[in-house]
């Protein structure tokens, strides 16, 4: 009887003829919020995540599958609550298949012809959650989190906080109420972990695709953030000044030649003092990675000399004009600069302004043929250590880690989802996406290492002194080595 009732079509927006859903013996009332089909992990296939169909679970241990023939299959596992986001129903010939990886082996199994799914579990007792968000796309994030909260039947307070690390530290210091979930960038980790602000997420089931992103939030072997998206560094060029798109395998020499030929007032501009824009050159000039084998920056590596010398000479040749962000943007948007280096987050902004621009991958260094390595700036989600909603926080993070969510947010924002499975869902025909993805391939994530933070603080002053002619390259690197304890 229950099966019959549940097998009746329950109109849930987004489904053609949805499966029946029951939880702890009761039918689930359809939500006003539609779900979206997302990749299931099987090539070319999309389905609906059980994490969106069922309420957030503290724990779930039994899933009964009923078929149209009356056959029943009971699946038992202690961790269904954790895994619902990675379990999908896929429409198949008017019925539904359940697709998931029961043994966590990387192989998806399929249970066919399902008409009803009945889950048994313990719902999350937490009903309120506070989330701090920042950077681009805040209204979209607020809308997405509200959508999840409405489906989940909980209340989410989403706050736009311009400087989350500073604010969280201030609140902790003052003994104030901390949020439950915060959006962080990878180089926040050392300070926030040292302050005891975050709890590890090692036990949280997250998409398997996205190792680069997960490593960006791993500190001392523990995972402190669930990666959400990354911004990739790109070369932006003015199509009014640079008539021919650079080749994918173009070099720094090509870039300089094109800049000179353009007659632009400024050939190329970027914040050459910042480690964020300097380290790509260090990699391009021969260093294998940002952090050395012993967790040091290895500032005595010859690539540092070459990179600094190249930048200094570029300035002397009047190809490069170091500028901080505001000045650089002003020159580019007014058509005075042929090339700038910026992040993919600038794409929507330039589109909105109607600028004639193109994007190119970072060029190669002619000698050695190595490409400048773009820095990948990952943003992700973290749970505060003293949250009173730890389970709900984890379910929200699993939701936001879903491929569909990442793709729908990242597309309009010019960002790249941290889950590579989500790339297939990005808007087709985006002229910039291929270049952003190529940058990601060549890119290196900003390391969540306190040594990097120290380097970032120390290097900008020293690079400024060097490029200003106050010090020579040996003095600069000696000073940097001393400060870095190398």
């Amino acid at each position: 009887m229950l099966v019959t009732l549940l097998a009746a079509a329950i109109l849930t927006p987004g489904f053609a003829s949805p499966p029946g859903l029951a939880y702890n013996g009761s039918a689930i009332r359809p939500s006003a919020q539609p779900t979206r089909p997302v990749p299931t992990g099987v090539a070319g296939e999309r389905g609906y995540s059980l994490g969106e169909l069922f309420p957030p679970q503290l724990e779930a241990w039994r899933l009964q599958l009923s078929s149209g023939t009356g056959a029943r299959t009971v699946l038992n596992a202690d961790d269904f609550g954790e895994r619902l986001f990675d379990m999908y129903v896929v429409e198949s010939g008017g019925l539904w298949d359940l697709v998931f990886d029961p043994a966590a082996s990387g192989t998806r199994e399929r249970f066919r012809g399902i008409t009803v799914l009945e889950l048994t579990g313990e719902p999350c007792p937490e009903k309120n959650i506070e989330v701090w968000v920042s950077w681009e796309g805040v209204p979209e994030l607020k809308a997405e989190i509200k959508r999840w909260a409405d489906r989940a039947g909980v209340t989410a307070k989403v706050v736009d906080v311009p400087s989350i690390k500073s604010k969280l530290v201030t609140v902790l210091r003052g003994g104030g109420k901390v949020p439950d979930v915060v959006m962080i960038q990878s180089d926040y980790l050392p300070d926030l972990v040292e302050a005891g602000a975050l709890q590890p997420l090692d036990g949280l089931r997250l998409p398997t695709a996205g190792a680069k992103g997960r490593n960006a939030f791993r500190l001392s072997g523990r995972l402190f953030g669930a990666p959400f998206y990354c911004d990739a560094q790109l070369v932006f060029y003015s199509t009014a000044l640079i008539r021919q798109a650079p080749r994918p395998d173009w070099t720094l020499d090509d870039m300089e030649r094109l800049a000179k030929a353009s007659g632009a007032q400024v050939g190329a501009a970027w914040n050459a003092y910042s480690a964020y824009w300097f380290l790509p050159f260090v990699i391009g000039f021969g260093k294998e990675s940002i952090m050395g084998a012993h967790g040091k920056m290895d500032v005595r590596h010859p690539a540092y000399v070459k990179a600094l010398t190249y930048l200094k000479d570029s300035i002397a040749r009047k190809f490069l004009t170091p500028m901080e962000r505001d000045a650089m943007m002003a020159y580019f948007t007014s058509g005075k600069a042929a090339f700038i280096l910026s992040g993919s987050y600038s794409v929507p902004e330039f589109r909105r302004l109607g600028l004639p621009f193109g994007v190119a991958p970072f060029p190669l260094v002619a000698e050695g043929g190595k490409r400048l390595a773009p820095m990948l700036d990952y943003k992700g989600w973290a749970v505060t250590r003293t949250t009173k909603s730890p389970a709900l926080s984890r379910r929200l993070i699993q939701y936001l880690s879903g491929a569909g969510i990442q793709a729908s947010f990242c597309g309009p924002q010019g960002k790249l989802p941290a889950d590579e499975n989500a790339w297939a869902l990005m808007p087709a025909g985006d002229p910039y996406l291929a270049t952003i993805r190529a940058s990601w391939e060549a890119g290196i994530a900003v390391p969540p290492d306190p040594v990097y933070g120290d380097f970032k603080n120390a290097s900008w002053k020293l690079i400024r002194l060097f490029l200003g002619g106050d010090t020579n390259v040996d003095e600069t690197l000696s000073a940097l080595a001393t400060i870095m304890g190398e």
Partner: protein, 516 residues
């Protein structure tokens, strides 16, 4: 004035660089992150609960069980075997399995809770959580620890942390003190310690390794609490913590602002103690007294007493709050700012960040002006010159007529950035624009240095440019210059790679000019 000790390099550039890093707060020290042990853990069990308890667990004072054994050294509870749970409250302690097992032999320490686990009644036996908290909710270092029920009722946060890092927090106001146990038996079988009981199930945490309370100040609070502001007035010393400063009757909150050399204005409601009132409580401050602020990174800024005394647009605060929040270590914990009804706006370099010490030496403050001329003209006041020394500090060993002394100042060539072109001067425009003109210096112009008594020396810019061994000094052997040389001297290192042709030691330097 005593020379500030800071990091020094062996090269001029190193000194410049490190001094610059120190002065702008770039030096860092980092303590190791606090990590938890590893391994996954299940989060919780489920369903409704009922509790049955054996023994006399209702008492809030643990005297019954403890008294039998007599007082034990706290040390015995710090050493043990088996699993352990770190406890943090007003004190820190460790709950060892061996002590836990011994304690359970006493009725009041052994409690059973029966709950629904996936629809099946499951019993857990262990020790009331409150008895573990009793070890750290008060100053008692020995058994029998008294559980503070009043504190529990008043409310504090308890954070239960599992081996995999999962942590759940509740406030004690929201739960009965007997609600939760630390269980080591599930249906009679041993398990890793688990918190379970009559509570929302998200608080049922398996494989517990740490229990923290808000009775412990967090790392940030602890660091700030250990900070002291030192005062040295004519040799008489005093120190204040931030808490002590806030309790002083001279605490005040009002609006103030500062503008950086790049033109950015920062404004807010600052809270702090009135500087003049604080100093006046130790000495009668006069206009010609010297007040020196020493920052945590060694940066120094001196004010004449007159600056503090005569402030019609507001009053100086030693501020440690901004818009209601404590100032973070950088730019706090303490910074100087002027506040008042009209939101006074001061020059950024006058707002000293990270103030650690205030030194007052009365009646030795001498103001001066260094006149610069060339393609532009500037009069640099003492505070600007002192900023130059702090940011571009260079010490040379100068020898004259057999007398050797260490002079501290900044390279002369940096001054020429003010006057070597008609447009740019140090810190007056975007930092991407270099004020100093290498091209002009390399092309060559005359640099004329004139003392207060008219003595004049002229050298060529080609000999001076980027020559860090030739300095304008403000200190000699770590102290202020003697009257015969003050306020500034031109000296050079006796091992200088290049000594400009025609250079002579200039005492009482009054002006520097560039002649093209």
């Amino acid at each position: 004035m005593k020379r500030t000790k800071g990091k020094r390099g062996t090269t001029a550039a190193l000194a410049i660089a490190i001094a610059l890093v120190m002065a702008t707060g770039g030096c860092v020290s980092r303590e190791p992150a606090v990590m938890v042990e590893e391994a996954p853990a299940d989060e919780a069990v489920d369903a409704t609960s009922a509790s049955t308890e054996s023994g006399d667990w209702g008492e809030t004072a643990d005297a019954g069980a403890g008294a039998k054994d007599g007082a034990k050294s706290d040390q015995s509870y710090q050493d043990g075997t088996g699993w352990s749970i770190d406890l943090k409250g007003i004190r820190a302690a460790k709950l060892w399995q061996s002590w836990f097992d011994e304690a359970k032999t006493h009725a009041s320490h052994s409690v059973e809770k029966t709950v629904d686990k996936k629809g099946v009644k499951t019993s857990y036996r262990g020790m009331p959580l409150r008895l573990a908290l009793a070890m750290v909710d008060g100053p008692d270092t020995d058994h029998a620890w008294l559980f503070d029920q009043d504190l529990w009722t008043k409310g504090y946060d308890v954070t239960i942390i599992a081996k995999d890092g999962y942590s759940a927090t509740f406030n004690t106001r929201d739960l009965a003190s007997e609600a939760l146990i630390i269980a080591d038996l599930e249906d009679g079988k041993p398990i890793a310690p688990m918190v379970v009981g009559d509570s929302p199930k998200n608080l049922w945490v398996r494989d517990v390794v740490r229990i923290e309370t808000s009775l412990t100040p967090n790392a940030l609070v602890a660091a700030a609490a250990s900070f002291v502001l030192d005062i040295d007035i004519n040799g008489a010393k005093a120190s204040f913590s931030l808490a002590e400063l806030e309790k002083l009757p001279i605490y005040k909150e009002d609006r103030g602002a500062y503008t950086t050399s790049a033109g950015t204005r920062y404004e807010g409601v600052y809270g702090g103690v009135k500087l003049l009132d604080l100093l006046q409580s130790y000495a009668d401050i006069k206009a010609d007294d010297s007040i020196t602020f020493v920052a945590m990174d060694g940066y120094e800024m001196s004010y004449p007493g007159k600056t503090v005394l005569d402030s019609p647009d507001g009053e100086w605060l030693l501020a440690f709050r901004l818009d209601g929040d404590w100032l973070a270590k950088d730019p706090g914990y303490v910074r100087t700012i002027k506040v008042g009804a009209g939101t006074p706006n001061i020059d950024g370099h006058l707002s000293v960040r990270m103030v650690k010490k205030i030194v007052v030496k009365q009646k030795d403050f001498v103001d001066f002006t260094l006149k610069l001329s060339g393609k532009m003209n500037f009069d640099l006041d003492r505070s600007t010159v002192q900023s130059c020394v702090s940011c571009h500090r260079k010490t040379v060993t100068f020898e004259k007529k057999g007398e050797v002394a260490e002079y501290t100042g900044f390279p002369l060539w940096l001054l020429m950035g003010y006057v070597d072109d008609p447009k740019y001067a140090p810190h007056k425009q975007d930092a991407s624009i270099a004020a100093y003109s290498n091209e002009a210096a390399d092309a060559g112009y005359a640099i004329t240095m004139t003392a207060a008594d008219g003595f004049k020396v002229t050298v060529n810019s080609r000999d001076v440019t980027r020559n860090d061994d030739l300095i304008v000094a403000m200190y000699k052997n770590g102290e202020k210059l003697p009257d015969s040389e003050a306020p500034l001297v031109v000296v050079w290192d006796r091992a200088a790679k290049k000594i400009p042709e025609g250079i002579k030691n200039i005492k009482m330097l009054a002006s520097v000019g560039a002649v093209f």
